[in-house]
């Protein structure tokens, strides 16, 4: 199958997946106790007020009717308006996407070269001190929950030493890049391990493969063999892991956003779920589902480029 046809089929399938995700999210939020009216009414609310809010929000109408309306709107590109603030959902998505994209993109820009370099270094010195140090450090970082790492980094570098801003509160992310340093370190720490381990394993396999041995016999230089022959083979499995990581990053890494006060999609999601603001939750579900479909498609096409044979057979 040609990559183009493959992409078209995957996108069609993706559309179905997005609809399915949205339906499931709707049902799940319906199943949660309380609704937007209860959430909005606050503590010790008067039940009459809750009923009144429910009527103003249209929550007294059957859920199916509301969902149907929303899906029809979606088909026209209309994400609806927030139950609570009345602002268009698109505005929420637009506001949250910026910080999340900045964080995700920068995290990837750091993560990919760094993990490839570490993986290659470890593979070339397999079993040696460099390999062992890289392995120990990356596995060590992987084993710290990002929340704990964030707390420690903030305490040491933000509060005690005052080298870096401890949070990004009120800051313009691109205007004050210093606020991004600690969140990025936390975001990169865990996936660094999985990706560099995959690159290392792939590199070791590739260096021991028949085609690398053949290339050596043909007299091709060591550097070329490592980077032009072995490395592309080692990257194919890592690409899939990078895709998963990208999903994770674009999903708004909720903990990191909360601890560092980055008003991204994760924060919006937490707020919207707490407020039972269904249109916003569903809008986010659409964004997350679409991202997942697209990112994985891109990863597959990239993997096709890196390992033409495997995808051609599949």
């Amino acid at each position: 199958m040609s990559p183009r046809r493959y992409a078209a089929r995957r996108l069609a399938l993706g559309l179905v997946q997005v609809l399915a995700v949205v339906t499931v999210v709707f049902l799940l939020v319906q199943a949660l106790p309380g609704d937007a009216a209860v959430a909005l009414a606050g503590d010790n609310p008067d039940p009459r007020r809750i009923e009144q809010i429910r009527v103003t929000m249209g929550l007294d109408r059957p859920p199916l009717e509301r969902f149907g309306e929303w899906v029809l709107g979606l088909a026209r590109g209309d994400f609806g308006v927030s139950l609570i603030s009345g602002r268009p959902v698109v505005e929420f998505l637009h506001d949250g996407l910026g910080p999340t994209l900045v964080l995700a993109a920068l995290a990837l820009v750091l993560l990919v070269p760094l993990s490839v370099v570490l993986g290659v270094l470890a593979a070339l010195r397999e079993g040696g001190p460099v390999d062992r140090v890289v392995t120990t450090v990356t596995v060590g970082l992987h084993s710290i929950p990002e929340f704990a790492l964030a707390v420690v980094l903030i305490a040491v570098f933000g509060v005690q030493l005052r080298w870096l801003p401890p949070t990004a509160v009120g800051a313009d992310l691109l205007g004050q890049p210093a606020v991004l340093v600690l969140p990025l370190v936390v975001l990169v720490a865990r996936p660094l391990c999985s990706i560099s381990r995959l690159v290392r394993a792939g590199m070791i396999d590739a260096l021991a493969s028949d085609h690398v041995r053949h290339a050596r016999r043909l007299g091709i230089g060591v550097t070329r063999i490592r980077f032009a022959h072995a490395l592309p083979n080692a990257l194919a499995p890592a690409v899939q892991q990078v895709a998963r990581t990208t999903d994770w990053l674009l999903g708004g890494v909720i903990v990191v956003e909360a601890v560092f006060v980055v008003p991204g999609l994760g924060t919006i999601l937490v707020d919207a779920v707490a407020g039972r603001d269904l249109p916003v939750v569903q809008g986010l579900a659409v964004v997350f589902a679409v991202t997942t479909v697209v990112v994985n498609l891109v990863a597959d096409l990239l993997a096709f480029r890196l390992a033409p044979r495997s995808v051609a057979i599949a």
Binding site: D43, G86, V261
Partner: protein, 511 residues
């Protein structure tokens, strides 16, 4: 009915403050904060929620929204440090002899667009809140006003018709969210009010920037600029303050306060009596329909221990009555203390020995689960067993209003009259304890139609005596409201949260 929802998410962070790392500083009050100085930008961090943040003051719900509304707008009246209404945009108020017509004289104030604040704006603002098709928060408080028969006497005089005699009408004018906006305003993207600060810019979920209103009727603020930023996590607010990213961090936990009280990077400001912590017993069903058993519960609570362990010492013991330190509070009633023997006797007398009572609680408000656990422990050995049941936090308030017999309770500040009207009358909407007594209702009616303040106070005391003796609220403590600020910030008031002086930035300066 004021918002006290702390964001429960990642509650762990609160406990993990960096005492070990930063607790080594010495307590050295900065003198810069003691004399007012003009100028500067103050950044204030509040919890917020992207989804709910709007600049419509009538929709305000969260603390950050209340604080922003206060900076941009005025109410006719607001609550003073004793939680009694005091005039704001209203210069004075005069009821007629029947207490059903109130004449309000407005102050000479102007909106940020230069237009004067007129009687017409007041009526339009109230009409907007009372719109039957909307559900603004102040609606139920203002429902007492008969708007059709109210009128603007002249540009600066409003005459309100009130549906029944009500001497506490100023409490209505001070209701949460009852702000005066220019007549006809529906678009709040660039809000225009009469408050001490003017609007500059708004990024939902992130920040609001305001600047000094030099023409403010009460005198211009000290600050040049005021920026509200959002940080949902308590630890993030504390860290931002410690890292010098903000100068004011709203709502810190007692643990954070304790670890930084001695440091030189953060000044802790406590506002006592800001929230009451309680257990609510339902009087209309067993087992607490038995008066002896209720009294036994009152006697079982070790209040100092509860304050120490649940509020980390940041609070005061309660005497089963709402509104300690507020106007009309019955402070002449002796403080209850633990008396295990008498409690045992009362339990035996009630025939409740060996009984297990479920105590419903949840993380819906701060300290509730901890208090329930500590109290269950204090009850041990009395013959009664309290079993703590942690329920869903999202539907907690409506669940406990209907079901169970014993539940955790927490409430913010409001006038004692409002507390009674909302929770303790036969027709009250949130009567958790199911306290429904015609003679008590009659006393309330008497109080709100008694013009003489001393005599009125006497009626309130009588009502409180009966609540203290037989009521369903075991109010064991009052929590301090804790705010952290940079050491150079001066002018922060210790008035209870939700009163006029709380989060009042026009009186604050940077030293």
């Amino acid at each position: 009915m004021h918002p006290l929802t702390r964001r429960g998410f990642l509650g762990l962070t609160a406990g993990l403050s960096f005492a070990a790392l930063t607790g080594c500083g010495t307590a050295e009050p900065t003198s810069a904060a003691s004399t007012p100085r003009a100028g500067g930008r103050l950044r204030a961090a509040f919890a917020g929620g992207g989804a709910k943040e709007v600049l419509d003051p009538h929709l305000a719900n969260l603390f950050v929204e209340a604080a922003r509304s206060k900076a941009l707008y005025d109410k006719l009246a607001d609550l003073g440090p004793d939680v009694a209404a005091q005039p704001r945009l209203a210069e004075k108020w005069e009821p007629d002899a029947t207490l059903t017509r109130w004449r309000i004289t407005l102050r000479r104030a102007v909106f940020h667009n230069g237009q004067p604040v007129r009687a017409e704006d007041v009526l339009a603002s109230y009409a907007r809140i009372l719109d039957p098709n909307r559900a603004f928060r102040a609606k139920s408080s203002l429902a007492l006003i008969d708007l059709a028969n109210s009128r603007a006497v002249d540009e600066r005089t409003v005459e309100f018709a009130v549906k029944r005699p009500f001497v506490e009408f100023p409490n209505v004018l001070a209701a949460f969210g009852a702000y005066i906006v220019p007549a006809g305003t529906e678009d709040f993207t660039s809000p225009v009010g009469s408050g001490p600060f003017r609007f500059v810019s708004f990024e939902p979920g992130k920040s609001v920037l305001l600047k000094r209103n030099a023409e403010y009727w009460e005198g211009a603020p000290h600050l040049d600029e005021l920026e509200f930023v959002i940080a949902n996590e308590e630890s993030a607010r504390a860290n931002a303050l410690l890292g010098g990213q903000v100068e004011y961090a709203h709502d810190l936990t007692p643990t954070t306060a304790r670890s930084h009280a001695a440091g030189d990077r953060m000044a802790i400001h406590r506002a006592p009596n800001s929230a009451v912590q309680a257990f609510a017993m339902k009087l209309d069903r067993p087992p607490f329909d038995n008066r002896d058993l209720r009294e036994a519960m009152f006697l079982l609570a070790d209040r100092p221990q509860l304050v120490e362990s649940v509020l980390a010492g940041s609070g005061q013991v309660g005497n089963d009555l709402f509104g300690k330190g507020y106007q009309h509070y019955a402070d002449d009633i002796p403080q209850r203390t633990r008396d295990l023997d008498k409690a045992k006797f009362l339990i035996r007398k009630a025939g409740a020995e060996g009984l297990t009572v479920k105590l419903d609680t949840s993380t819906a408000a701060a300290g509730m689960v901890e208090a329930a656990t500590v109290f269950a422990d204090q009850v041990k050995g009395s013959g009664l067993t309290v079993e703590v049941v942690t329920g869903n936090k999202d539907s907690y308030w409506s669940d406990t209003l209907k079901n169970g017999s014993l539940s955790s309770f927490r409430s913010g500040a409001m006038p004692i009259e409002t507390h009674i009207a909302q929770r303790l009358l036969s027709g009250s909407g949130t009567n958790v304890t199911k306290w429904a007594r015609p003679e008590f209702d009659a006393l309330y009616d008497q109080a709100v139609s008694t013009v003489d303040e001393t005599r009125r106070g006497e009626v309130y005391r009588e009502m409180q005596r009966s609540l203290h003796a037989e009521g369903g609220y075991l109010m064991w403590g009052f929590a301090d409201w804790i705010v952290g600020a940079a050491p150079n910030v001066g002018g922060i008031s210790t008035a209870p949260a939700n009163t006029l002086d709380w989060a009042r930035f026009d009186k604050v300066w940077l030293g």
